[in-house]
Each structure stands twice: as structure tokens, then as C-alpha cells.
Symmetry: C2
Subunit: 327 residues, 2 copies
DNA sequence: CGTCACTATGACAACGTTGTCTCCCCCTGG
DNA sequence: CCAGGGGGAGACAACGTTGTCATAGTGACG
């Protein structure tokens, strides 16, 4: 900036005035300054500006499990859209479902003085966030609640959705329904399992633990589980896949299987309608999830001091075929 | 920091020393300082630190067309992985295939003093980057070259891949092959069209312009084009989809069509193997694209001054079924 | 006992901006 | 002719750090 000032023959304060479109600069002076800026390729240093003004940095942080997973990338996109409308940039990070990594990312973001943080939490302990939140960095939890603190949260109706899935299958005559879920440490997985049990109860189906598998999904793990569940005289006639990754693995396994049980997935996914049979899913609006969370965050950024809010977004069952076959 | 210093009864310089793990601090003093840091919830301001040290900011910028598109989110993930290994955070932005927006994002990132920028360029004019690059911000172009400047670029073999696709279809007896591409303003689309023509030539097929459509893909647009191309006595017997979005739209259209032409897509996508018939594609390693670009960027960040490099990654045809049907 | 080396600490400036205050000049109105 | 006012511009400090240099204290050694 001082280089520009020297070249234009003015003080650096005048350059600052030009850069910030402040009034009370003579047009001729402004022009000289702009020419100098152009010539030197000057670009104001936002870091220094933010430091001096003590204002917001114009960035927010987003932490998800894996930015490469279509579910989270859609979320990312929705968040970005809102952030852009508020003139903010988005710093993203993948926690890889690792709470230490999540914590690292959060603290790093705080050190960068982001204006707020959106996080799909990996762990169950979020006490480390208390000082940051008290220091004025708003945090909104997405898709899963915070483990041990009260904070803004946006969820989907995991419980209701799974109940609906069970009811749908029961309505088509299924009594032996298998449930394949992610690790029970994950809130959504636990909640969906709870919905599964509740759904069984409501439909007069006795809950059979041997038809349930809860673990981190891997192709082989899911493959083995599916084969086991569909084998023998007491085989399941229907399967509920607890999330989009699991659904894909299940489908891949079933593609080579003789018996094709009915199937309902939780989370919609691209091409579900083009498979054979088309896949029935419990769908929810991922963009809405991102929008709601980002809107809530920016309300906080702009000073909203109301008590922490908990938003639960609705889900709906999309019947496409795979869930409507008889046992 | 001065609050911490006051509470611990030391100077702020000593606090700085503790925070930075500098030697020559008495253990007792360090402990007092750490206690004060803990008590006050102090977190050092990275912005001020970077300003003072004049060092790198520890961030890089990534600009893609749409972070929500699985293709780009996989790229994002690969870039993030390398960035993390170099201790950097990633700022992401979607250009929405709009060169003004791209430019805005780039300049914003530069104002934030990112250590480098990775960009999937939207437009053809990148002269605006010259001052930034001269000022020391390395830029690597991904998937498409810069319009009018020389710069590091990582591409995939669009030409070779499309030639391979045509040859594959020709080998299965097809002589009337349609090509559905994205807007010809996009480098990859133009290049794949060039590959299509070249492929026709090499296989002794006369290039028929009426079998080619090049435009921004929309469900309806693709639907109409597919119906037109498959209609009449001179109908195409095979279709090449120019990218993953187009492939999906084509598949959705064909799902309701009476005639099912052979089909090959450019870009692999999830579940392609589970469709009926499974979709033959020209696949390339998106992660490798991101890795290569990020590695190249960090080499530059660390001072590599060699002439701009151009990396072309190989593609390979994955025959799954949809491309192996006779006319 | 004076000197030296070393440890532990602090004062101060500087990074690139911008807010505040001040100054100068010219114009207007009485 | 003078007071008052407003437009245009600069000096200076401060934002939160850290690099440089200075200083005080401690022990060892000749």
C-alpha cells in the first residue's frame, strides 16, 4: 500500500480511502491512485484489514465426515449458497468420523477467527467448544446433536422415517425385516435403530435382534451380513438399509444373489429410480438441511441471542418398487 | 494475549513464547501461563500471526463448477487430503460455470493471501491472473487449460478416451453413433467432440453432424435430443454421453424408451455397474486428478520455479454391457 | 572478586490496514 | 475584511502477534 502511495504521490491513508470507496477524495487523486494500484497489481490484504477493524473475517467453517460423499457435498453446496448470499467464504474440512480430527479442525477454524462453524459432529464430547462459543463463535450442529452441551441443532426425523419404512414393508406383508445400520456410536444410526424397534412394535412384529447389524459399513462387511440375513428358514424377506452407503453396498450384494428381498433405504441417492427394481427410500431434503443450518448460523452471527434451537426436518417415503414386493 | 500476560504476571512476549513452544521459558512460568490461557480460553489469532511473520497463511483455494457435483466433490476430497498432509486448510467455491464468479472468487482468495489456487476454469480469459501469479500466488488449472495464459495444468486424455469409445462401439458393429456433449465453450466438451470426429475417421465412419448435440445439459434438453436421435430410418444405434451429468439424463430418458441403443459414457459414476444393462464408460481417476494438481501446487508453493507443466492423465474404457450390444 | 557465559524475561518495533484527529485551503456570507 | 464551514488530505495510533535486542540474575571459573 505504501508503494502505491509513493507512486501516486499521496499518503497511504488516501490509498486506503480510494480502496474503500470513501468519499472526500478528489477525483483526480483517486484516478492517480487507481492507476498506481493497477500498475503495481496491488490487492489489499484482508487479513490486515480484519485485524485492524476487529470485524468479522467473512469466513465460516464447515466440518463434515467426508466432503467427497455425495450426501455431504450436497450439504456443502447448500451451505455455500447461503454463505455467498451473506458475502462469506467457506472453509471445509473432513473429520473422517474421527472426533480428534474434528476437534483439530474446529480449533484451527477458531484460530482463524471464522465467523461461525457448522459441524456434523463425529464424537460425543463437545465440551471443548464451550470456551469458543462463549468467546462468541456461534456453532450449529447438523444432522446429529452435540454430545454433551446444549447448542443449535438441525436434524432430520430419523425416528419417524424408520418407523415409516417398517410400516411400509409391513403393509406389504413382511414380518421378518432386517435392519442394517451404521455404528451405533453415530446418533443417526442409533436413532434409526430406535425407529426400527418402535416400527416393529407398532406393527405387531416381534423385534428379532438376529436380524439387526450395526457397524461401520464396508463392502465385505455388508455383503456378509446380507448373505447371512437372507439365509436359512428364518431368512429375512425385507431389508432396511440405514444410510446411503449401506444401501449401495446392499444393492451390490443383492445384484449377485438368487433371492431378492424387499428393500427400503434411508437417504435418497442419485439413480435410485433407474435401478431394477427402482429403490424405495426414506428421502429428506439435504439442501434444506444445509440451508436451515446456515440460516440459523447467520442469525447468530448477526446477534440473535435467543435460546438454542432444535430444528427437525421432515422425511418422506418415496415408493419406487423395491419396497413394494411381497415376501 | 495481554489479558493472559496480566493474569499470569508476565509480559506478552513470554506468553507468545509459551504459545509457540519456544525454549528458554522457565517451567514454572510456562505452567502459570498455560493455566491463564486455559482459564481465559485464549486462542491465538492466526491472522495477526501471519501478518506479523509475513509467512504463508496456511490456506489454499479451490474453485470448481459446483462442489455438490460428485465429480467435483471427489476432486475436492483428493485435494483436501494433500492439503492436510501439507498442513493447509482449503477454501472452496463454486463458479457455477460463470467466469465472472470465478474471477470474483480468485480475487477474493488472493485478497485473503491463500498460498495457492486450484481452479477448474470456467471461462477462456485468465489474463486477470497474471498480476496475481507474478505477485507469487501459484495457480494450477484442473481438468481444463487456462484460456490465454501459460500455466500449470492437469488434464485427462479427453481426445484418446473418446476415440476409444467410438472404436469400441464400431467394433461391436455400430456405424451410426450419436454424440451428446456439453456446451462447446467448455474445453473438455470441445476436446471430446474432436475425439469423436477423429474416432469416426479412424473407424471409417462418415461424420454426421445431425447426430451431434452440444449444449448445456438439462433433463428436458437431453431427453428431446435423445428422442430425436433415435427416431426415423437413419436413427443412431449407439450413443456417447459426453460427461456424467449427460449420461444420467440419457439413461433416465432411455428408461422409458422402446429402443435401447448401445451407450458409452465419459466419466465413471457410482452405481453404473448396477444399472440394467450396466453402463460402459470411459473412466478416469478423479482422485488422481486432484492429487496431481495439489502436489504440483505445493511444489510451487515450496519454491519450484521450473517452467509450467502440463500433465495429462490416462483414461480407460470399462466395458460393462451397455456398450457391447449389437445395433 | 571480577569476568564470562548462559538463562529467563521484557521493551519495542513492525507486519498492512483503518479510525480518529488535525491541518490547510478555498469559498461563502455578513 | 473576517469568521465560519466544508472539502481534501496527512500524521499517528492501534489491531494481535512475533523478531530483535537489551537487561537482570545466576553460577562457574580463573
Amino acid at each position: 500500500m505504501s508503494d502505491v502511495a509513493r507512486l501516486a504521490g499521496v499518503s497511504i491513508k488516501t490509498v486506503s480511502r480510494v480502496v474503500n470507496d470513501e468519499p472526500a477524495v478528489h477525483p483526480d487523486t483517486a484516478e492517480r491512485v487507481m492507476a498506481a494500484i493497477e500498475q503495481l497489481g496491488f490487492r489489499r490484504n484482508l487479513g490486515a484489514r480484519n485485524l485492524r477493524r476487529g470485524s468479522t473475517t467473512g469466513t465460516i467453517g464447515l466440518i463434515v465426515e467426508d466432503v467427497g460423499n455425495p450426501f455431504y457435498s450436497e450439504l456443502n453446496r447448500a451451505v455455500e449458497r447461503i454463505a455467498t448470499s451473506f458475502g462469506r467464504q467457506v472453509l471445509t474440512g473432513s473429520s473422517e468420523e474421527n472426533s480428534d480430527r474434528e476437534r483439530e479442525l474446529v480449533l484451527e477454524f477458531c484460530a482463524r477467527r471464522v465467523d461461525g462453524i457448522l459441524v456434523v459432529p463425529a464424537g460425543l464430547q463437545h465440551g471443548y467448544l464451550v470456551p469458543e462459543m462463549r468467546a462468541g463463535t456461534p456453532v450449529v450442529f447438523i444432522d446429529r446433536p452435540a454430545g454433551d452441551i446444549v447448542a443449535d441443532t438441525v436434524l432430520v426425523d430419523n425416528l419417524g422415517g424408520t418407523i415409516e419404512a417398517v410400516t411400509h414393508l409391513a403393509k406389504h406383508g413382511h414380518r421378518r425385516i432386517a435392519f442394517l445400520g451404521d455404528s451405533p456410536d453415530i446418533f443417526t444410526a442409533a436413532e434409526r435403530l430406535r425407529g426400527f424397534r418402535e416400527g416393529c412394535v407398532r406393527n405387531g412384529i416381534s423385534y428379532d435382534e438376529s436380524l439387526v447389524t450395526m457397524r461401520t459399513p464396508t463392502p465385505d462387511g455388508i455383503g456378509d451380513a446380507v448373505k447371512r440375513l437372507l439365509d436359512g428358514p428364518d431368512a429375512a424377506t425385507a431389508v432396511i438399509a440405514g444410510n446411503n452407503r449401506i444401501a449401495v453396498h446392499v444393492l451390490r450384494t443383492l445384484a449377485h444373489a438368487e433371492r431378492r428381498p424387499a428393500m427400503v433405504g434411508f437417504d435418497d441417492f442419485e439413480l435410485a429410480d433407474l435401478l431394477n427394481p427402482p429403490v424405495t427410500v426414506v428421502a429428506h431434503d439435504v439442501s434444506a438441511l444445509g440451508h436451515a443450518a446456515a440460516e440459523l448460523l447467520f442469525a447468530r452471527v448477526q446477534g440473535d441471542q435467543s435460546p438454542p434451537r432444535k430444528v427437525v426436518l421432515p422425511v418422506h417415503l418415496v415408493a419406487r418398487g423395491s419396497g413394494e414386493v411381497a415376501p
